[in-house]
Structure formats: structure tokens, C-alpha cells
Amino acid sequence: MNDLLDRWAEDRAMPPARAEAIRRRIVEDAAPELGVEWWRDLFAPLKRSVAPAWRPQTRSV
């Protein structure tokens, strides 16, 4: 069970490239003086616009 759970955790972990993309976007793009709300609104559509590169676009209604 331990080994299997370790493998599951490895499989489900955030890929290092995604983590680095998130880190870089924050430190390079988000000027802290503008506040969280301003950047949250900007980042959400940005993230969706790059989504097709790393996940299939599926939509449920």
C-alpha cells in the first residue's frame, strides 16, 4: 500500500513545469502595489487562454 500510494502521489503531483510557470508569472508580472484583486482578475482569463496547451478543452453544460 505504501509504494502504491507513493506512486499515486507522484502521478497526481503538480508538474514542476506548471509550478515554475505559476511562480514566474507571479514574480515577473504581478506588481504587489496593485493588490490581489486586480491581479486575480487579470490572471484568471490569462490562465484559461493558455489552457489548450496543457489540457483538452472540454465543457459540460
Binding site: M1, R23, V27
Partner: protein, 152 residues
């Protein structure tokens, strides 16, 4: 690299795994969890100058919990943007385990995922969930027993 960015990079490296696990434990959805990581560390970045050097991890986890509560509130009124995507689980045993973890009641699934995926200790999981460490250990033990039963 300035001191502020260096401090943020260290915080991100040290705590992103736990933050990701906190969100994944609730959603079982990678993109939701990544959104949670982004939002949490965006808040940390914007408020970094007010963050005391002691208790950094507790602060980051409290921020994540606050983001999760806000996200849950928004989710009640927002449309579903995407469906869960299977993530390369081509191993039969892993697939069975994944299904068994999803099927666990939330009370067991959340502490188990925070332990297995986030590498978190029972004490800090207890702080996030508002339960004593002993209770967390018991719940994780119970979750593992259920999984062993489910996958044979």
C-alpha cells in the same frame, strides 16, 4: 534577484506541495488545485512585506484555506468550465487506487491526500482542518484501511 523575490521563491519552493495537496484533496482536480496554488501565492506575494519571518508556513496554509473557502463560495454560483481529465493513470493498480481515493468520504479523503500528496504532518493538517493531531492520525489510518480493503 532582489531579497523580496528570493524570499518569495523560497516560500514557494517550501510550501507549494502542501498548498497544492490542500486544494487537490477537496477537488480531486489538477487544474482547480493549480488555480488554488496560483491564487494563494499571489496573495502571499502581494502581502509579503507584512509577513513575519516566524510562522511562515502557518501563514501560507491559512491563506490557502481562505482561498479554498472563497473558491467554494464562488463555485456554488459559477458554471462548470471543465471536466476532470484523466492524467495518465494507465496502471491498473494506480487506477483502482485513484478510484478508491475518490470514493472515500471527504472526512477521510482530505487528511489522507494532505499526508500522501502534500507530505504534511498530522499537527499541521490538524491546524488547517481544526482537529487535534491524534484525530488526523486516526482518520488517515482509517482511510488507508479502507483503501487496502477496496483494492484487495
Amino acid at each position: 534577484m532582489d531579497d523580496r523575490t528570493a524570499r518569495f521563491d523560497r516560500l514557494f519552493d517550501e510550501h507549494r506541495r502542501a498548498v497544492y495537496a490542500l486544494f487537490f484533496a477537496s477537488s480531486h482536480h489538477r487544474q482547480e488545485a493549480e488555480d488554488g496554488v496560483q491564487e494563494t501565492f499571489l496573495r502571499v506575494w502581494c502581502r509579503l512585506d507584512a509577513l513575519p519571518p516566524e510562522g511562515e508556513r502557518a501563514y501560507v496554509l491559512r491563506t490557502a484555506r481562505s482561498v479554498a473557502v472563497d473558491a467554494a463560495r464562488r463555485a456554488r454560483v459559477r458554471p462548470v468550465f471543465c471536466e476532470e481529465v484523466e492524467l495518465g493513470v494507465d496502471d491498473t493498480h494506480l487506477g483502482l487506487l485513484d478510484a478508491a481515493i475518490r470514493a472515500l468520504p471527504e472526512e477521510l479523503r482530505v487528511p489522507l491526500v494532505m499526508t500522501a500528496l502534500g507530505g504534511m504532518e498530522s499537527g499541521e493538517i490538524g491546524e488547517v482542518l481544526g482537529k487535534p493531531p491524534g484525530t488526523i492520525r486516526y482518520l488517515v489510518h482509517k482511510a488507508r484501511a479502507r483503501l487496502a480493503e477496496a483494492i484487495g
